[in-house]
Structure formats: structure tokens, C-alpha cells
Amino acid sequence: MRWLSLMEKIRAPLMVFPAVALIVLLFFGGLVVGLGQSLGYFPAIDSFELTFRYYGEVLSDNTFFESLWQTFRLALLSTVMSSILAIAIALVLRNTFRGSRFFTFLFQLSIPIPHLVAAAGIVLLVSQSGIIARAAYAAGLIDAPRDFPVMVFDRAGTAIQLTYLWKEVPFIGIVVLAILQGIGPQYEEIARTLGANAWQRFRYVLLPLIMPGVLSTSIIVFAYVFASYEIPLLLGVRHPTTLPVLAFQSYQDPDLSLRPQAMAMSIILTLIAVVLLVAYKRLARYAVNT
């Protein structure tokens, strides 16, 4: 009996063990190795002393802070703009109108498409030799394709933002749309008979109801954009680039002595991301509830 009850107790932990082990091993394993290297423990170059020297080097370099700002700016703008657009489109798509199902299908189309393909598509569309520039030139709107505003490899990161928008708006949008469809029209109808105008109904009734969904998806978007390197690498300027790109470049350098610095950058990036995510969640909750 005692054996049976013990089995009963450990059955659930045993069943989730393989999945948890994989996550712990891959994530925390990498993190521990990275942390060790950032602290100078790197047997490959005969370095065993534990030191904060590499953190000091990273934090005293101006490039790091320029990249940090660029990373933060891109992540925040992409997240906020994606969330706003996603909510707006979901509000339209929840109504039944002629072709609404088709538009909903169209809206979700970009979700399975990889970010890299999206980036290539955006370049084809908005670069100075892209489709829009050529169309504008053909229509006589600009004198030469080079007159088209620079949107790829620009400091503002326009093409990067567009790529993220194209990918992340539907991601947040389908969650918001599902919530809106679940809510139904009655809360708004009650609010309406109680004298709430369209903006008040959105602000005080709908927004608090959809906010948990918006928060959880936008946090994923923020975390992804903050830590992703392939899009800024492909579409962004070399300087200032984003932190993940900076870390990746140092990591890839043939000079292995730069590796601890790359790891220090990654660890700092992780810490900042965690702090920002917590702050973002708290701030958004506070904003909705007041």
C-alpha cells in the first residue's frame, strides 16, 4: 500500500520529467556555460580565474550602450505598434461583413512564414530597387528609383520594423480576435445603454477584457524581438546594430579571447530582458486598471 501511494505521488513528476529535463539541460545548461565563460572560466583558452573583468569591458564600451538603445527601441516600437495594429484589426474582423472570413484567413497567412522569408519579401518591396520604388518611378511620382526614401539599412531600422509588424501583428491579432469573439457583444451593449460612447466602451469595457491576451502575446513578441539577431543582421545598419548582433559578431570572431565578452553581453542582455518584461507587464496592468 505504501509503495502504491508513493507511486501515486511521484507519477506526475515522473511523467513530466523528460520534457522538464530537456528544457533545464538546454536552457540552464547553456546559461551556466555562458555564465562561466562570461566570468572568465574558459578552459579552451586556458582561462580558469573567475573575474568580472569582461563585464567591466563591455559596460565601459560606448558601442554596447548604443546597441542596447537600438535593441530596446526596436523591440519596444515593434511590440507597441504590433499590439495597437493587432487590436485595431481584430476589432474590425470580429464583425461579420461580406468577405470577413476571407480577410480573417488573409490576416493569419503570414504566421507560418519564417522571419527570414518575411525579411526577403520586405526588401523586395521597400528597398530603393524594390517593387514600390519602381512602381513609384513608373508612375512618375519620383524622378529616379534612388529618390525613394531609404528604408533598408537605415538607422531607424524601418525594414526591420516592417518585417516584425508583418509577422507579429497577426500573432497578437488572432489571440485578441479569439478573445473578442468569446466575449460577445453584450458587455458593450450594457455599457452603451449606460451611456458609454464608442471610445469609453473600448477603453473601459473591451480593453481590460482583452488585455491579458494582449499582454501575454506582446511579451512573447517583445522577448523575441529583443533577443533576435537575424533580421537586424540582414536588414539593419552595421552601426549601431542590436545587442544580439553585437554579441553574435564577438562570438563568431576567430579570436577566442573575445568569447567571454560575447557571453558577458548575452548574460547582460538576458538580465535586461527579464527586468524589462517584468516592468512592461506591471506597467501595462497598471495602465489598464486605472
Binding site: R192, L194, G195, A196
Partner: protein, 349 residues
């Protein structure tokens, strides 16, 4: 205190007419029940009064002013829905104060009025609770307080008691009636429960298939139904075909005397009806209108005995005193008192 007029109100959904040329007046401070089976158009009418639904044709007037172009949020017609639907992200106090907040009422004044309303619906001190912490009845009372706090011109209640158990329903009926009287708010109440309508309403609008059948005081639906269908809805299926000639109706059971002043049906084919509780099983021969009937069934109901009779091929239900006893199959004499006979149009049978 708002006087409401519905004028030829019609609403079609595709080929289906949900409400058909509905016209009626609701006096200031009156409580009117829209009664009828599911799908008869009563909720559609309510939504047209709020403006949540636009009529296909016709007009809604508040104090002789057309509301057709006035948006819902400016009509002052507040609706309490069947499901309580408190805003789940707000506390009870925030829910009740919602309408005031939308109007920009100052915070302290809002607080005062919210507390006053919670007191009125017997939920003092509940302001900081969350909606999910309340029982169904409490949630419904909060929904009522939320509607009343804005002092609506018209209060519209869409089957607000349908989700409550029997005891709570009685309690809520009383509460609604008392508050409505106290505040003198013009109120429209949708229900499919005739007992509820009778207990609560000053007047009842009975609807079938989008058409208004009868708009009158509750007792008229018992004493003066306009058709056999209306009588049936109020649990009276006692019908007997006849031909009226002045103060007499010839039936298969003989000639019945009727009160000529009481009934408005013209001479010709009519249906004679007497409510189950008005048929006399112990007749007084001096008063006439005695007919032969065969006992088909009798069921003891505690407070009375329900007797099913065959009157010339028509099945009648009679409520007799509890001690009444007869044999099934026995032929007895029953009396259809002249003052209780009501005549219905034959075509509506």
C-alpha cells in the same frame, strides 16, 4: 418619469417579420410586461426601445420626441439583461458606478450614489467585492443597481429573473416592484412567465408571432381575453361553439343567457368560455345556464380538485372545492354563471 410611445414598430430580419406594426403607449412611471412565448418578438421590441436595434419602420417616442435618430448611449433607456453580465474586470462598486463614471460625475458624488444604490438593493458594504464572489441573485441585484444609479428615463428588464431559483425569484420580484414604485421609473419587463407578468405589471402586452394580441391590465387577460389563443396562454381552454343572438347564445347544450353589456362580440358565430375557477359544480337552479357534463377525470390538487369534463364534445377543465367527489363517467349538472360567461370571436379558435 417618461411617457413612451411605440408607433407601428416593425422589424424584419431577411424574410422574417420579428415585430409587426406594434403600437402601444406606456404611461410615465408605469410597469409594463411584454409577455409571450420564446421568439414572439418581445426582446426585439426591447432592443428597439434602447436603440441597440433599429426598426425597419415605425417610431419610438419618449415624451413625444422621436428617438429614432438618437443613439443608444444618449437615450437614457437602460437595459438589464437576462444574464447578469457584470463587468468581470471591475469591483461591485465600479460596476454600479459605471454609468456615472461615463457621465463624468465627480468621484465623491459617485461614491455616495453607489453606496445609496447598494443600500437600496440590500447589498451594503459589497462595493469592494468582485463579481465572481457574488451569488447569482446578488449579481442580478448589482446589475439592477447599476441600471438604476443613472436614473434612467426608461428601465428595460430582459427576463432578469430567468436564471434565478424559485425563492430568489420571488424575492427579486418584490424588490423590483418596490424600487420601481419608489423611484417611479417607467419600466418595461420582458418575460415568458404569465404568473410573473401578472404579479409585477400594471399592464401586460401579450405578443404572439411578432403581433400584439392584447394590451391590458392583468385581470383582463383572465376575465376579458380577446381570443381563444390569449385565453389558452392564461390557462383557459374551456371553449364551446355557439351562435349569439342578443343576450342569448345557442349551443349544442341548449341556450345560454349572457350578460349583454359585458361582452362585445357581435351577433353570429362565437365561442363561449368560462374560466375553470368560475364554472359551478354545485349549481343554483334559480340562476339558469345549467348544462349536462360527463366527468372524464378528477385530480386532487390539495387546495382544490381539478375536474375534467366533457361538454358536448368539448373538454373543459374546472377547479372545484377540494372536497368535491364524483365518479368518472358520471353525468353531472354544471352551471355556467351568466356573469362569468365571456364570448370570443369564432375565427380565432
Amino acid at each position: 418619469m417618461t411617457h413612451v410611445v411605440l408607433r407601428d414598430l416593425t422589424r424584419r430580419f431577411g424574410g422574417v417579420t420579428a415585430v409587426d406594426r406594434l403600437s402601444l403607449e406606456i404611461n410615465s412611471g408605469e410597469l409594463v410586461a411584454f409577455l409571450g412565448p420564446s421568439g414572439c418578438g418581445k426582446t426585439t421590441t426591447l432592443r428597439m426601445i434602447t436603440g441597440l436595434l433599429l426598426p425597419t419602420s415605425g417610431d419610438v417616442l419618449f415624451d413625444n420626441k422621436s428617438m429614432i435618430t438618437v443613439p443608444t448611449e444618449k437615450r437614457g433607456a437602460v437595459m438589464v439583461f437576462q444574464k447578469h453580465l457584470l463587468f468581470p474586470t471591475m469591483t461591485v462598486g465600479q460596476n454600479v458606478g459605471f454609468g456615472l463614471r461615463m457621465q463624468g460625475v465627480e468621484k465623491r458624488e459617485m461614491q455616495r450614489r453607489v453606496d445609496e444604490m447598494l443600500e437600496l438593493v440590500k447589498l451594503p458594504g459589497f462595493a469592494n467585492r468582485r463579481a465572481h464572489e457574488l451569488s447569482g441573485g446578488q449579481q442580478q441585484r448589482v446589475a439592477l443597481a447599476r441600471a438604476l444609479v443613472v436614473r434612467p428615463k426608461v428601465l428595460l428588464l430582459d427576463e432578469p429573473l430567468a436564471n434565478l431559483d424559485a425563492n430568489l425569484r420571488l424575492e427579486m420580484r418584490e424588490l423590483i416592484r418596490n424600487i420601481q414604485r419608489e423611484m417611479s421609473i417607467t419600466t418595461v419587463f420582458v418575460t415568458h412567465d404569465q404568473e410573473e407578468a401578472v404579479m409585477l405589471a400594471d399592464r401586460i402586452a401579450l405578443m404572439f408571432d411578432g403581433l400584439l394580441q392584447q394590451y391590458a391590465q392583468p385581470q383582463d387577460f383572465y376575465q376579458r381575453p380577446t381570443s381563444a389563443r390569449v385565453a389558452h396562454f392564461f390557462r383557459n381552454d374551456n371553449l364551446l361553439a355557439g351562435i349569439r343572438r342578443g343576450a342569448q347564445v345557442e349551443t349544442a347544450l341548449g341556450t345560454l343567457e349572457v350578460d349583454a353589456d359585458r361582452t362585445q362580440q357581435p351577433d353570429g358565430k362565437v365561442l363561449v368560455t368560462v374560466r375553470p375557477e368560475d364554472v359551478r359544480l354545485m349549481p343554483n337552479p334559480d340562476e339558469g345556464n345549467c348544462v349536462e357534463a360527463k366527468v372524464l377525470l378528477q385530480v386532487y390538487m390539495g387546495t382544490h380538485t381539478q375536474v375534467q369534463l366533457d361538454l358536448a364534445g368539448h373538454t373543459w377543465m374546472v377547479h372545484s372545492p377540494a372536497h368535491f367527489q364524483a365518479q368518472v363517467g358520471q353525468t353531472i349538472t354544471v352551471q355556467l354563471p351568466r356573469s362569468n360567461i365571456w364570448l370570443l370571436p369564432e375565427s380565432a379558435s
